[in-house]
């Protein structure tokens, strides 16, 4: 035992020594190989993420079909009933509400910053967006509980109830303020710096020559934006919005704290919901005590991962093409 240990140590020591005494060319070749193999880790990590989650989801896929899981509406872990539909619906509701608020505001801000704002304004913008992006999601959650939830409960929901209660979409059946609306608003603020930064980049990538040509034939600046800049940058803007949506999909803590966490199919934007990330985060404690529960939660993580992967790969490819074209 001891002998083999020293032998192992000796080989290790010799390896290190031979490395140190390598010629410059030898070191160069060694580091190149080392750096290359480390660089392949991210690619490997994506594969590992999918495979590991898929393997852990296997037990539940053996007992139930994938469709009964995705489309099932009852969630009774003790009775081994795992229907993800309420959670998937909750995720989608919250994300869509967030994007409805975030997209117009972010787009207009980015256009303003890119086309109208002075250089000094842009200098302020960068640190401001960085700060907004740096705030931890738990702090967003605290802010949501302290500011957004009471506002929805006392101001926004009663107002909508008074004016639009005949539309089921806006009906207020939930008096607490914790719900899709609050979650969506908090998320909208969270993804804003992200969407603004990407859209700004995309707008900046539109060639100046195009703008000048449009202005030269007599278009106003707004007409140039409307007919030239926006049309040119549309794919990039869409890609940025999709990236923002995939951020929103996976956001956990902030949403968990304000969204109410009731497992049902929401029918109104003021209902409580239970998005997938919140489901995973809330139940990690008991997941090893109930059979198949851990497989179900890992399945939830797998669904999230796959959706986010698809969104991200597509939009990253689009964005990359745009930015590369402009750098040429």
């Amino acid at each position: 035992m001891n002998n083999s240990k020293t032998a192992w140590f000796k080989t290790f020591y010799n390896q290190i020594r031979s490395l140190l005494t390598l010629s410059r060319g030898g070191k160069e070749r060694f580091t190149e190989k080392l750096f290359l193999s480390i660089s392949l880790l991210p690619v490997l990590l994506i594969v590992l993420l999918v495979v590991a989650l898929w393997l852990r989801t296997q037990p539940i896929l053996e007992t139930q079909s994938i469709w009964s899981l995705l489309l099932g509406q009852t969630w009774h872990p003790i009775k081994s009933q795992f229907g993800f539909l309420p959670f998937i619906a909750g995720t989608m509701w919250v994300t869509i509400v967030a994007m409805v608020f975030a997209v117009p505001v972010c787009l207009l801000s980015a256009i303003y910053l890119s086309e109208y704002a002075r250089a000094s304004m842009r200098m302020i913008m960068k640190p401001l967006l960085d700060l907004l992006a740096a705030i931890p999601s738990v702090v967003y959650g605290v802010w949501g509980m302290l500011a957004i939830v009471p506002w929805v409960q006392n101001t926004f929901a009663p107002f909508m109830n008074k004016c639009f209660s005949y539309i089921p979409f806006f009906a207020v059946n939930n008096p607490t303020g914790f719900g899709i609306m609050a979650g969506g608003l908090v998320l909208a603020v969270m993804v804003a710096p992200f969407i603004i930064a990407i859209t700004y980049e995309v707008l900046q990538a539109v060639p100046t020559g195009l703008r000048q040509a449009s202005l030269a034939v007599g278009a106003t600046q707004w007409e140039t934006i409307k007919y030239i800049v926006m049309r040119q940058s549309l794919p990039g803007v869409i890609a940025g919005v999709v990236l923002g949506a995939s951020r929103a999909l996976g956001e956990t803590m902030a949403v968990l704290m304000v969204v109410g966490n009731v497992a049902h199919m929401p029918t109104s934007i003021f209902d409580a919901a239970y998005p997938l990330p919140a489901l995973i985060a809330n139940n990690y404690g008991e997941m090893l005590t109930i059979p198949l529960y851990d497989a179900a939660l890992m399945g939830a993580a797998l669904i999230l991962l796959l959706v986010v992967l698809v969104f991200n790969i597509l939009s990253t490819l689009i964005l990359r093409r745009i930015v590369r074209r402009s750098r040429r």
């Binding site: 410059r24 070191k27 160069e28 190149e32 080392l34 750096f35 290359l36 480390i38 660089s39 392949l40 991210p42 990590l45 994506i46 590992l48 590991a52 989650l53 852990r56 117009p104 207009l108 801000s109 256009i111 303003y112 910053l113 704002a117 640190p127 960085d130 700060l131 740096a134 705030i135 931890p136 999601s137 738990v138 702090v139 967003y140 959650g141 605290v142 802010w143 509980m145 302290l146 500011a147 804003a192 710096p193 603004i196 106003t220 707004w222 007409e223 999909l249 996976g250 990330p277 995973i280 985060a281 990690y284 890992m298 999230l304 991962l305 986010v308 969104f311 991200n312 790969i313 990253t316």
Partner: protein, 282 residues
């Protein structure tokens, strides 16, 4: 003619409003957290660990969470740096434009978008596979995975911005690529590299969903790599979950402490990189 100008004026007004809305939301968040967090923030909270009955409103503080968070994020950042710097150098110096570096960049961009709860679940699977319990080490590994794409892509961008002349001058003098990387590229881009490290640290210290599974929680100060460790985001989250107003008050203070740390890091990295950029060749 008139109509066109009116349309432009209206839209410009809406744009300024939406920009102000975004800007003011930052102010609003900071205002809320400070106003709610400041009253119950005191010295004992920052210098004591929770005593018996802390979660019922008795004495104690969140030192365990502050120290734990620094250990977690520090360890995670160090581990991410060990992997991230070689990757950034490989992408920037060894193989600027090749099929492999395209793939690596794409996968880093994609990993950047993977939700932290998914990293948490993956870290949990890793720990089960290795027979580990919730511990500092598990949290560090998970945070390193989370921080790796953020840090590496930030470094990659900086290295890519560096003038190629410098690199070529070094190579022309007969330096190998490794020597160029260490003596020229790293030195020249140091401000950017430090910004990237601090960016990743800030992201790591604020993340709750990934350490929820992997680091556990404890009322003691961190005592070893294989022991559970507390963290600030989870301290906020758990204290908010109690029904006692005094404890919830402390959650707001903990949130204030966390916000303060993150803001200091964000502003500090800006200051530091502007200080250091004096030493880079223009």
């Amino acid at each position: 003619m008139k109509r066109r100008q009116v349309e432009e004026a209206i839209f410009k007004f809406i744009m300024v409003c939406s920009f102000l809305l975004v800007a003011s939301s930052l102010g609003l968040i900071l205002f809320t957290v400070i106003v709610k967090g400041l009253p119950s923030l005191n010295w004992a909270m920052l210098t004591q660990t929770p005593k018996g009955g802390y979660y019922l409103g008795k004495e104690g503080g969140i030192l365990n969470a502050i120290v734990g968070s620094i250990y977690l994020a520090g360890g995670g950042t160090l581990l991410a740096l060990l992997l991230g710097l070689p990757i950034a150098l490989y992408l920037g110096v060894y193989s600027r434009k090749s099929r492999i570096s395209d793939w690596v960049r794409l996968s880093l961009d994609v990993l950047w978008g993977v939700p932290s709860i998914v990293y948490g679940a993956f870290g949990f699977i890793l720990m089960l596979a290795m027979g580990m319990r919730a511990s500092l080490l598990g949290g560090i590994i998970t945070l390193a995975l989370l921080e790796l794409p953020i840090m590496t892509r930030a470094m990659d961008e900086v290295i890519r911005m560096m003038p190629r002349d410098l690199e070529q001058a070094s190579l022309a003098l007969g330096a190998t690529r490794m020597e160029t990387a260490i003596h020229v590229v790293i030195r020249q881009t140091l401000p950017g590299i430090i910004t990237a490290i601090l960016l990743a640290f800030g992201r790591g210290i604020g993340d709750a969903a990934s350490v929820l599974f992997t680091a556990g929680y404890t009322d003691r100060l961190p005592s070893g790599l294989l022991r559970p460790v507390a963290s600030l985001p989870l301290a906020v989250f758990f204290q908010l979950g109690t029904p006692f107003p005094e404890v919830q008050q402390r959650a707001y203070s903990a949130a204030l402490v966390l916000t303060f740390i993150v803001l200091i890091i964000s502003l500090g990295s800006r200051w530091l990189s502007s200080r250091l950029s004096r030493f880079a060749l223009k």
